[in-house]
């Protein structure tokens, strides 16, 4: 069965002949929504966004309209809008495509949003590795400024706002909104404690700040186009709009695929959209929302109740790809990075790889994350190196439990969820690893097998 993509954000991505300059964008109907937006009342746009139910595409899935509502407008301080383009969650590669191929869509979405929240200044925080993207954005902003689509007195509306592109220096933690804010301010990207530093009240330069993901801001443009109600009709209630699933791993056709929320199930995404697994392989596990999401085991049965009370009983292939369903099965849709693993995957190695990443990326500010995550890395590395112990699985689980929920920012969870879920679902493999190595050692062989780990 063929599943037709519903491309909203990625409408023109990879379209032959579509270029990332402003003329091409305008030719395809670009900046019409901004023209429309500046004639609207800012609070009406906010109301539309709230009605649309659009949830943040960066990972947490928090309703964007609600986030905007929390904005402290009474402080008298300037309001800032920040676009989080630090896309650094392993397995995610959607924002890069937007920036590379359709930067004006982001700029339009941002200017609509900036107008809606009456931002004084907008920033795009782009990760340091996206050098090409940075250059593209700089050029696109220049083009837009020439046409008075940003800058002073935008389109004669009396509203002025500019966009500053700020490059990161290569740190995962810069994607955490308060870390990102610190980074823009020129400090180490150490996330701030909340309370009291909620960005909506005390954000960038201690002023009210909204930080949204690239995809979320692009959605705003489409919300203005089709109205909050129109947008909310895509997908299901509570899971509105489209999502771009970045599928990677052991599938025939990895890549990004845009569907309305709930329009496909995980099985359809893997087998129909991505062409299934390589011949002769069996599905072993899926991480559905970027490497920090909890892993799902292929032979699990997922039962429970959805938010609206409907009961479900799904196999892994039946899970609808949306926020709530993935939450209900104990994982999350996160940033939309679907990582597929087939039966050739060594789970200990996979976890060692993930742990390596998080240990490297911990900012080092607070104790549990700074010390705990590298510890987990050292344990999994040792296991891969041939010195696994049977009790390591429990130790890993316990370390992860001591980190999650005890840290300043969500990195603690991001780093411990993989460990918790890998151990919960594949503990036997971790124990088996130790036994195997012991057996090989007994036979006088090298305990560690060859790995492809970095």
């Amino acid at each position: 069965m063929e599943h037709q993509q519903h491309r909203l954000i990625f409408k023109h991505i990879d379209e032959p002949g579509y270029t990332n300059d402003i003329d091409c964008y305008i030719k395809h109907g670009g900046y019409e929504q901004l023209k429309k937006a500046v004639t609207m009342k800012p609070e009406d746009i906010c109301a539309e966004v709230l009605e649309s139910g659009v949830r943040g595409r960066g990972g947490a899935g928090f309703p964007a309209g609600m986030k905007w509502k929390f904005l402290d407008r009474k402080s008298g301080k300037p309001i800032y809008l920040v676009c989080n383009c630090d896309e650094s969650e392993p397995g995610t590669f959607k924002d890069r495509e937007i920036v590379h191929q359709d930067p004006h869509q982001l700029i339009e979405g941002m200017m609509c949003s900036a107008f809606a929240i009456q931002a004084k200044l907008a920033f795009i925080y782009i990760r340091g590795e996206f050098f090409q993207g940075y250059k593209i954005l700089e050029r696109a902003i220049e083009e837009a400024r020439e046409k008075n689509l940003l800058g002073d007195n935008i389109l004669g509306s009396g509203y002025s706002c500019d966009i500053i592109v700020h490059r990161g220096a290569g740190a995962y933690i810069c994607g955490e909104e308060t870390g990102l804010i610190e980074s823009i301010e020129g400090n180490r990207a150490n996330p701030r404690i909340k309370p009291p530093y909620f960005p909506a009240a005390l954000g960038l330069y201690q002023c009210p700040t909204i930080v949204n993901n690239v995809e979320t801001l692009c959605d705003v443009k489409h919300i203005i186009e089709m109205g909050g109600k129109g947008f909310s009709e895509i997908g299901t209630p509570g899971n509105t709009g489209t999502r771009i699933w970045c599928v990677s791993g052991h599938v025939q056709k990895p890549g990004y695929y845009e569907f309305p929320c709930s329009a496909v199930t995980l099985g359809e995404l893997i087998y129909d959209v991505c062409g299934g697994l390589k011949p002769g392989r069996k599905l072993k596990a899926v991480i559905p929302g970027g490497s920090s999401a909890k892993i799902l085991r292929a032979d699990e049965r997922f039962t429970g109740k959805l938010k609206d009370g409907t009961e479900f009983d799904w196999g892994i292939e039946d899970i609808p790809m949306d926020f709530d369903s993935l939450m209900a099965v104990g994982s999350m849709s996160g940033s939309g990075g679907v990582i597929v693993m087939d039966d050739t995957t060594d789970m200990v190695e996979a976890l060692a790889n993930i742990n390596y990443f998080y240990a490297h990326e911990s900012c080092g500010q607070c104790t549990p994350c700074r010390e705990g995550v590298p510890w987990m890395r050292k344990v999994t590395q040792r296991m891969v190196d041939g010195n696994a112990r049977e009790e390591d699985a429990d130790l890993l689980k316990n370390i992860a439990d001591q980190i999650a929920g005890r840290t300043i920012c969500a990195f603690g969870e991001a780093a411990s969820w993989p460990v918790q879920s890998f151990i919960a679902k594949f503990k036997d493999e971790f124990v088996e690893k130790a036994r195997e190595q012991a057996a090989r050692r007994k036979d006088g062989k090298e305990a560690a097998t060859e790995t492809t780990l970095i």
């Binding site: 740190a171 490297h360 900012c363 607070c366 929920g405 300043i408």
Partner: protein, 574 residues
């Protein structure tokens, strides 16, 4: 004390007990207020610094009374008591401020378990070199590991290796492996010392404390970072590897560096001082003191210390010397050069001697620049004492040219000098030869050499006494170490001389016996006040009589001359 009447109190519940705390108090302080030895363990939190919230040790469970989201009405349980909505995760006490009805658990399973986790994490890469660590005995990590740790290690991997002896400045040496990255030192440098030179480099578990490129931790407050370091990472280069802290005796004292009068603690053993650290007094110095103030004890040790009472170069007893001095003073034509470095007690008897020998009294100012923090313009600890005692009624001059003129004109025959090197203050050595000198001082110098009578004095570390600081706060200091053998406390010798001048009986010699006279004789002191009854945090005196004097202090950490004047100009009760 000024009472701030606008403080709002809120009732919060800590471990089942209702407590009233000022609104906005954080949970660490609130729990401290409960008393009973209760404490929320913490590393990065410091009452005088901004909140960082990075150590995660002060985790507590927090809950608020439940309200129905829709109606806003209280949600009650079956007993009609409002239900408490407990947060699913523990929260840090340092950044949680008391709000009405807040419930706190400081000792639940979740709290214990998270403290246990943090302790384990802090220890896995810690070198555990307590046996050679200076902080041992006063180390928060050591204390909390014993209290909240699991007692054994599950860590079998390699520990991180970091530099063991990094020089941060001339007085501070860093052991990076011991550092728990609490950032107290960074915040102190930035917020209090206003010398932003410290920061972290590298990331994650490899984060390392360091100075900014080309900078050093060289400000006069650098050693405070050593005090507030909860572990043995920042060490005093001077104190490093010298002494185990549990062998040291702690004595409360007052810093004599300037009129701020920072409260200090002297750490000594067997008559030797090893270090001086600040003692918290929120009205005077918070928890800080200068580096230069910590080194004052070394000045006492160097140089040629006066150790004997001498008359014309011959060793005598203190009684003989006092009698000889009294005899000399009785001859009249006396000028006294008193000192703002003397204690209140010494100045009181100087005043008595001045009255009884009809002497003129001069004081020399010791002024310098202020650093705006804890070093005021007046570099003497007790100028206010001289005023309160009535020893002088004006602020001192910079030199003694007035006395020099009197000597020149023959109006002065005898000079009683208290610890001043007068030859550098306008009285030349030749001129000094024209008069008979009674010298009271610590060290031998030009003045003591030619003095007819020499009375050795004790340093502030060797005697009991009191000072009055810039804001007219009477503060007490105690003897930490013994002085040279046979040398009496200065006030006793002065007392002997004063009594001899009036032909009264020899006084008893205890400081509180002296205070019977002092309390009666000085109007600012309550008649029942005794040295022993001066509170640890000091006693505020009434400064109204002196408000019009042009004191040199402008503004520092806890003092603002304009505000001080204003606060005391309005009569009490107005």
């Amino acid at each position: 004390m000024k009472v701030d009447s606008v403080v709002d109190y809120v009732t919060i519940n800590i471990d089942g007990e209702d407590v009233d705390v000022p609104k906005g108090t954080n949970i660490i302080e609130a729990v401290k207020m409960v008393g009973k030895g209760k404490e929320v363990p913490h590393y990065c939190y410091h009452p005088k610094l901004s909140i960082a919230g990075n150590c995660r040790m002060c985790m507590v469970e927090m809950g608020m009374p439940m309200r129905d989201r829709a109606t806003g009405e209280a949600v009650l349980d079956e007993n009609g008591v409002q239900k408490i909505g407990w947060m699913p995760k523990p929260t840090i006490g340092c950044a949680t401020n008391a709000a009405p009805g807040m419930h706190i658990r400081t000792n639940s399973e979740m709290v214990k378990e998270s403290r246990n986790g943090v302790t384990e994490f802090l220890l896995i890469n810690h070198p555990l070199d307590c046996p050679i660590c200076d902080q041992a005995g006063e180390c928060r990590l050591q204390e909390f590991s014993a209290e909240h740790g699991r007692g054994y290690s599950r860590f079998i991997e390699q520990k991180n290796v970091k530099p063991k002896r990094t020089r941060l400045g001339s007085r501070v040496t860093l052991d990076d492996e011991r550092c728990i990255l609490c950032s107290r030192c960074i915040r102190f440098s930035k917020e209090i010392a206003k010398d932003d030179v410290l920061g972290f480099v590298d990331r994650g578990t490899y984060s390392t404390l360091t100075c900014f490129p080309g900078k050093e931790l060289e400000n006069n407050y650098s050693l405070n970072t050593v005090d507030i370091c909860p572990v043995g990472a920042l060490t005093s280069t001077d104190f490093r590897f010298k002494m185990r802290v549990w062998f040291l005796k702690r004595t409360h004292s007052i810093c004599t560096e300037s009129s701020v009068g920072a409260n200090t603690e002297i750490w000594s053993r067997e008559g030797k001082i090893y270090r001086i650290t600040p003692r918290r007094n929120d009205a005077v110095n918070d928890t800080w003191m200068t580096d230069s103030g910590r080194e004052l004890f070394k000045e006492v040790e160097v140089g040629d210390r006066l150790t004997h009472y001498t008359i014309d170069g011959v060793h005598k007893t203190s009684a003989e010397t006092a009698a000889a001095a009294a005899k000399l003073l009785k001859e009249g034509k006396v000028a006294i050069i008193a000192s703002p470095h003397s204690s209140v007690e010494e100045q009181f008897y100087c005043k008595a001697i001045a009255d009884r020998s009809e002497a003129t009294v001069s004081l020399v100012s010791h002024y310098g620049a202020t650093d705006g923090i804890l070093q005021s313009e007046d570099r003497s600890p007790n100028l206010r004492g001289a005023l309160v005692n009535g020893l002088v009624d004006q602020l001192p001059d910079a030199d003694l040219s007035a006395v020099a003129q009197q000597i020149e004109s023959g109006a002065v025959d005898t000079l009683l000098v208290v610890n001043e090197e007068v030859t550098q203050l306008g009285i030349s050595a030749e001129l000094l030869k024209k008069v008979k000198v009674i010298y009271i001082g610590l060290h031998a110098n030009v003045v003591s050499e030619d003095a007819a009578i020499v009375i050795p004095s004790l340093s502030v570390f060797e005697k009991d006494g009191s000072f009055i600081n810039q804001s007219f706060r009477l503060q007490r200091f105690k003897a930490a170490i013994p002085g040279p053998r046979g040398v009496l406390s200065d006030f006793m010798v002065l007392e002997h001389i004063a009594e001899a001048l009036a032909d009264e009986k020899i006084p008893s010699g205890s400081i509180d016996a002296a205070w019977e006279h002092i309390a009666k004789g000085v109007s600012q002191f309550d008649d029942s006040l005794r040295w022993r009854s001066i509170p640890e945090e000091g006693l505020e005196l009434d400064p109204t009589a002196f408000l019009d004097l042009p004191f040199v202090e402008t503004k520092n950490l806890k003092y603002d001359s304009a505000a001080f004047k204003e606060a005391h100009a309005t009569p009490a009760g107005a």
